[in-house]
């Protein structure tokens, strides 16, 4: 009972301190509002505004028809260049795609001679190149088919493929990146807030003060977990309802309360690792450097930015230990695919277990380290 009271009262102190730290407050608001909308609107992972040029050596109705078919928002209006320009312009990175329509293209198509049409793709623009090549192929095929259908009747293929994209029919980036943005912010802030809370107490000498009072390290650490966790849970929840659902108008399939339960469990882990780092670092700058080295991989490799399947095996195994991977995975399952507790509980359990481990490590270091800095 006393323990709970202590944890409660220490936590209220934490909240009061936090509400006076305008820099951190600003960081939280920025991270959960502006940063989320910006990521949602960045279109970094879809074909958008790709630069394209056309070398029209045919100058026929068909070639002009193809040139006019590349439309925004996927492509920028195509630029007409000469064949000699292809190499220098592509070397300079001016165009990601160059369509080369050979001479007599229309005549050969109509004559059934199957002429070659070349699409040059700058394969170093990895995201656009892959998606754009497919698009370009479809567009050109459709245009030729359309042109031909005027000339002769075409018949339906014997076998047809219909591809549905489940959970996100238009495959828009905003839907994905806004929620992933929130997830990354949760990790970032939980570590910074709790780590900084520990280092600040040590730098101000108040940690000594706490340890001399009848309080245990468990109570001190737990108070930071709940107070910082509460701030971030509230911020993440508001961000999901207000920014994602209302402002960005993104449909959310699953249960937000269930997701918030997951957030709380994940926050236990993230604040615990923050506290642990706070006990390792001797000063704020050291905490900052340590944070960069731990947060960046945890964030970049969680599956919130790039697919996990393409990692080498050893790395894929390693990131599977990281709770941030579990977090991303259950967030996608709950929010996009509407999964329930029966599906996600193993990931909840894994996150909580690893969180407990770091919490225990932090407690072990607490007393021995706290007093040593002056």
């Amino acid at each position: 009972m006393r323990k709970i009271a202590n944890i409660f009262w220490l936590g209220t102190k934490e909240l009061r301190s936090f509400s006076h730290d305008f820099v951190l407050l600003g960081l939280v608001i920025y991270a959960f509002s502006f940063a989320v909308t910006m990521q949602a609107r960045s279109s970094a992972q879809e074909l958008h505004n790709a630069s394209i040029a056309i070398v029209d050596e045919d100058n026929s109705e068909l070639s002009r028809r193809i040139a006019q078919a590349f439309l925004p928002p996927y492509f920028k209006p195509p630029r007409m260049i000469t064949e000699a320009d292809i190499v220098p312009k592509m070397n300079a990175g001016a165009f990601t795609f160059v369509v080369d329509i050979p001479p007599h293209f229309q005549r050969d198509v109509l004559g059934g001679r199957r002429p070659d049409l070349q699409v040059n793709v700058d394969a170093t623009a990895v995201v656009q190149a892959g998606l754009g090549a497919g698009y370009a192929q479809q567009i050109i095929t459709a245009e030729i088919a359309g042109f031909m259908s005027k000339a002769e009747h075409t018949q339906l293929s014997p076998v047809n493929l219909v591809v549905h994209i489940a959970f996100n029919p238009n495959a828009t980036t905003a839907c994905f990146s806004s929620v992933m943005g929130i997830i990354n912010d949760v990790t970032m802030l939980a570590i910074i807030l709790s780590g900084a809370a520990i280092v600040r107490e040590r730098e101000h000498g108040t940690m000594d003060h706490l340890l001399v009072m009848p309080l245990t390290p468990f109570e001190i650490a737990m108070s930071k977990v709940w107070a910082n966790g509460l701030v971030i849970t509230v911020a993440a929840g508001l961000s999901l309802y207000i920014v994602v659902k209302t402002i960005l108008g993104i449909p959310i399939a699953g249960s937000i309360p269930l997701f918030m339960v997951g957030v709380v469990i994940y926050l236990f882990f993230a604040t615990a690792i923050g506290i642990f780092m706070g006990t390792v670092a001797r000063s704020m700058p050291q905490l900052g450097l340590l944070y960069m080295l731990i947060y960046m991989p945890m964030n970049m490799l969680s599956g919130s930015n790039t697919p996990l399947e393409s990692m080498p095996h050893w790395l894929a195994v390693a990131v599977r230990i990281s709770p941030s991977t579990h977090f991303v995975s259950f967030a996608q399952a709950i929010l996009y695919r509407g999964a329930g507790l029966s599906v996600v509980w193993p990931r909840f359990l894994a996150t909580a277990t690893i969180g407990g481990l770091f919490f225990w490590l932090a407690l072990r270091r607490f007393r021995s380290v706290a007093a040593r800095t002056t």
Binding site: Q137, P158, G205, T306
Partner: protein
């Protein structure tokens, strides 16, 4: 000391200064005579430091005029001309020194700042080291010097260029009395060698001020009085300077002040509260506390007297259980000390050196929080808080935040908080440092009341002699050892000294043997080389910063390993982790047809290297469930009658469902499936009844530069660019802000070093570090990731060199706007990561970005290095192709340098 002549060292007229809303100086007018020792006296925060920093030219003048050595300090030209004649030692022991550098390296740095040649540096250093007795410690790091030695080193660094005006801001605060005495002897020697030199000293020790030639008494941003010590004493009728100062204070501040009387200690024979037996504390090979023993009785006021860093704090921490004792035993209330014993902790109150309050909380919140944490019953807590507020005079401040309280009030609040639970023992670590004499006396009245009326045992540490004299018994401490413990009177008697200070000095001398006395200069150095200070540019001053920065970096293992291995670590993780290749995709099949035709269709999928097949789906529910929990990324459903329809030539449909949670992956999967479907249709091996008509034209997709279309070939060179943007920027931003935070930025303000010299000098080592990073990452790219370098290496190298010059300069730009290291760190990270990842062609080519985003990308150097890095690694390009990017990058260098010069201040505001 010599009498002063009529010339003026400095003249201040109507000088005002405010820090935001706080008035630091209120229209001060002051004439300071030359050729003598001038003392500025008064407690902390009354404006002494502000006056000195204005005279030194380190702080910008806000209003009024400041004339120093006959010229106007508002004129930047005159400041540059006069600064070689002034030396300034800011407040805080060795604040302008560099703790990681050795004694000679520190002196050499200052010598280079004044452009001295190697030969001049050699004779000057030797002479100063000899005069101060530091010669045996020449190679010791400044951080490992004792307070007294650090002070002497500060003096060496100040005197390296023979100044006409020496400004010392609280040079002796927190130093033991023997070192203090030696310091003043040394100053006398130095003055005898340069008789014309003027000296200005700020001090909080009133007894020290008695020997200065001329005093300025200050309070609350105003000058109370000026004159020689005897004049001040005569005009106020005080016996000492301290009495005179108190008499000069405004009446309302003096109200209620009376000389302190201490009733005798009632029962010196009760049970001892603390018994320390040979307690020792070691950190590595450093012994902080060496076999300290003492006994403290109930109700006693027991004092620890000693300099900063002599082990007072460590001893106190051991007795509170914060630090485990390496050796020895301690008994508290007759029980062995146990850090986990909660009932013991309830009987102790502790006030640490730094006023351990939550400064964001109000007075009332601080008190109630502690009452809660000690579990006082609600009613009792209220009564107790009411009593404390009343007794400690806090009623007017209840809703003020602790941060906004004057120091004296804050200290009373700290004490109130420490005794909220009525402890039997109070441990107070330097509770009164920095507080004015009146507030100190009020604080002691409270301590005496607690001890004498309530039998609270008080264990207090201090470096003020007059406070030590009030204790029942005192331990004199030096370098981790207790020299003597007894009542002040008996200590004085034992040494036959006039006062406690004399006794302490005698004990110190006995413990350490005779110290090396300062020596006057014997040789005449008239024929030695002396350098004239160059006004505009001096490579020596530039390299002073380069050498120092390099040494510091080499001795800071955290920053160094972050700088050298951080990039390698992240390169490894990102290089393998950030991949836009979509493969190893899991799919499952719901084949409702199970005919040779359906198997033929699926064969196309099964043969693909992109897909891995999971166990077949049972029904629609299974399909939905497995997509939901992410077990499969795609599900293929073949309708019943698929084979029959093909046989009859009726069009039939295959359904594919793709997990759209990650849009990029979903689109790519759709592309793969459609591609495979096309292959199936035209595959001559597949015997569908009617072969589809051949397409009218062949569309050939040529992936240039990267035929296998593996993202690693593009990502690895891009990641090199990203990490070279991030890390060098963070390191330089930290390097500049660190100087601001530590206070050594003052050296830029008060020495002839120019801003360009400072900026470039500090930047060079980080360009070196960044180039090492570049080399390591190139080797990793070639041998770990096996990305071949197909283009010109010299172009890549040149590009990288220009690029890291711009990114280090970018870090400096950010440091211009940040005050703390943590802000610099996160500021740089946020301002670098966003443009680097989003707008510099990492994922999306810059050419494809929309208006403002493209503008942001074009204004960030990484946009121009990505083409160079990717171009030389993957595209096989050379100088001719990349010249425009190299030129664009090169333009950033002078632009950023000039911008940085503009934003860096040569004076503190």
């Amino acid at each position: 000391m010599t009498g002063h002549d009529r010339r003026l060292a400095a003249r201040l007229e109507n000088v005002g200064l405010r820090y935001r809303k706080v008035v630091a100086l209120d229209a001060i007018t002051l004439d300071l005579p030359a050729g003598c020792v001038i003392g500025l006296i008064g407690p902390d925060g009354v404006g002494k430091s502000s006056v000195l920093s204005l005279i030194a030219g380190s702080r910008q003048i806000q209003s009024g005029t400041v004339q120093v050595l006959g010229g106007d300090m508002a004129d930047a030209g005159y400041r540059a001309e006069v600064c070689p004649r002034i030396a300034y030692m800011p407040q805080g022991l060795g604040k302008n020194l560099y703790p990681d550098l050795s004694v000679v390296e520190n002196i050499a740095f200052f010598s280079r700042l004044f452009g001295q040649s190697a030969s001049e540096r050699a004779w000057r250093t030797a002479e100063l080291l000899h005069a101060t007795g530091l010669t045996p410690f020449a190679d010791r790091a400044a951080s490992k010097l004792s307070g007294g030695m650090r002070q002497k080193l500060g003096l060496c660094c100040s005197l390296i260029h023979d100044p006409d005006l020496l400004i010392l801001d609280e040079p002796t605060t927190g130093v033991d009395p023997l070192s203090r005495r030696q310091f003043w002897e040394l100053i006398e020697v130095m003055r005898s060698r340069r008789p014309g030199m003027s000296l200005m000293v700020a001090t909080a020790y009133m007894e020290e001020a008695g020997r200065f030639d001329w005093l300025v008494a200050m309070n609350d941003g105003r000058v109370l009085a000026t004159g020689s010590p005897s004049e001040l004493k005569a005009s106020t009728g005080g016996a000492t300077v301290e009495d005179a100062f108190i008499a000069l204070l405004p009446a309302e501040q003096r109200a209620g002040h009376k000389a302190i009387e201490i009733p005798p200690w009632r029962n010196p024979d009760g049970h001892p509260v603390i018994v320390a037996n040979d307690i020792t504390c070691r950190f590595g090979d450093f012994t902080a506390v060496d076999k300290v023993s003492f006994t403290i009785g109930r109700g006693e006021i027991f004092g620890f007297l000693g300099s900063n860093g002599c082990g007072k704090t460590t001893t106190m921490k051991m007795l509170t259980g914060l630090l485990p004792a390496t050796e020895g035993t301690a008994l508290l209330f007759g029980q062995p000390l146990d850090a986990t014993d909660m009932t013991l902790r309830r009987r102790v109150g502790y006030m640490s050196q730094s006023f351990s309050l939550y400064t964001e909380l109000t007075v009332r919140q601080n008190l109630t929080l502690h009452a809660h944490l000690y579990h006082l019953p609600a009613g009792k807590a209220q009564a107790r808080i009411a009593y404390l507020v009343n007794r400690f005079g806090l009623a007017d401040y209840l809703t003020h935040r602790a941060l906004d309280l004057p120091l004296g009030i804050r200290q009373r609040l700290s004490l109130a908080v420490a005794i909220v639970h009525e402890p039997e023992l109070l441990i107070l670590d330097e509770p009164t440092s920095g507080v004015d004499p009146l507030a100190r006396d009020r604080f002691w009245e409270l301590l005496i009341e607690l001890s004498r009326d309530q039998d609270v045992t008080i264990f207090v540490s201090t470096h003020f002699m007059n406070e030590a004299e009030r204790c029942d018994r005192v331990s004199l401490m030096d370098s981790g050892r207790v020299l003597a413990t007894d009542t002040p009177a008996r200590l004085i008697a034992a040494r036959g000294a006039a006062n406690l200070e004399g006794a302490f000095i005698a004990f110190l001398e006995q413990a350490s043997g005779p110290r090396i006395a300062p020596v006057a200069a014997t040789t005449d150095h008239a024929d030695q080389p002396r350098t004239r200070v160059r006004r505009w540019f001096s490579p020596r001053r530039l390299f002073a910063y380069t050498i120092r920065e390099t040494l510091e970096l080499l001795r800071d293992p955290i920053r160094l390993s972050f700088g050298l291995f951080g990039t390698a670590l992240l390169m490894l993780v990102f290089g393998f982790g950030i991949s836009t290749d979509v493969n190893n995709l899991s799919f499952a099949v719901l084949d409702r047809d199970q005919t040779p035709e359906s198997r033929a269709y699926l064969e196309e999928l099964r043969g693909s290297t992109y897909f891995i097949e999971e166990s077949p789906l049972i029904d629609c529910n299974d399909l939905e469930r497995r997509l939901k929990d992410g077990a499969v990324s795609a599900a293929i459903e073949i309708p019943p009658g698929f084979g029959r329809d093909i046989a009859r030539g009726r069009p039939t449909w295959v359904n594919a469902t793709v997990d759209g949670a990650m849009p990029f992956r979903a689109q790519t999967i759709r592309g793969y499936l459609e591609g495979m479907h096309q292959t199936y249709l035209t595959d001559p091996a597949v015997r569908t009844t009617v072969p589809a008509a051949p397409p009218p034209a062949d569309i050939e997709i040529r992936f240039k530069y990267n035929q296998d279309f593996k993202s690693m070939y593009a990502m690895v060179p891009t990641i090199i660019s990203l990490l070279l943007a991030l890390f060098p920027a963070i390191l330089t931003a930290l390097a500049v802000v660190r100087e601001k935070e530590m206070g050594s930025i003052t050296n830029l303000y008060v020495t002839p070093v120019t801003r360009i010299e400072f900026l470039v000098g500090k930047q060079l080592p980080y360009i070196g570090v960044a180039m090492i990073n570049f080399a390591v990452m190139c080797i990793m790219a070639l041998f770990i990731f096996r990305v071949p370098l197909t283009g010109s290496f010299p172009v890549l190298l040149l590009g990288a060199l220009i690029y890291v010059t711009t990114t280090t300069a970018y870090g400096m730009l950010i440091s211009a706007f940040t005050k703390t290291q943590i802000a610099a760190l996160f500021g740089t990270a946020i301002l670098t990561v966003l443009p680097a990842v989003q707008f510099s062609g990492m994922m999306t080519p810059v050419a494809s970005l929309a208006g403002s985003a493209q503008l942001m990308g074009r204004a960030f150097p990484m946009s121009y290095f990505v083409p160079i890095s990717v171009g030389t690694f993957t595209k096989g390009l050379g100088f001719a192709d990349l010249a425009p990017d190299l030129v664009a990058l090169a333009v950033f260098v002078p632009v950023l340098l000039l911008l940085n010069r503009m934003l860096l201040r040569k004076q503190e505001r």
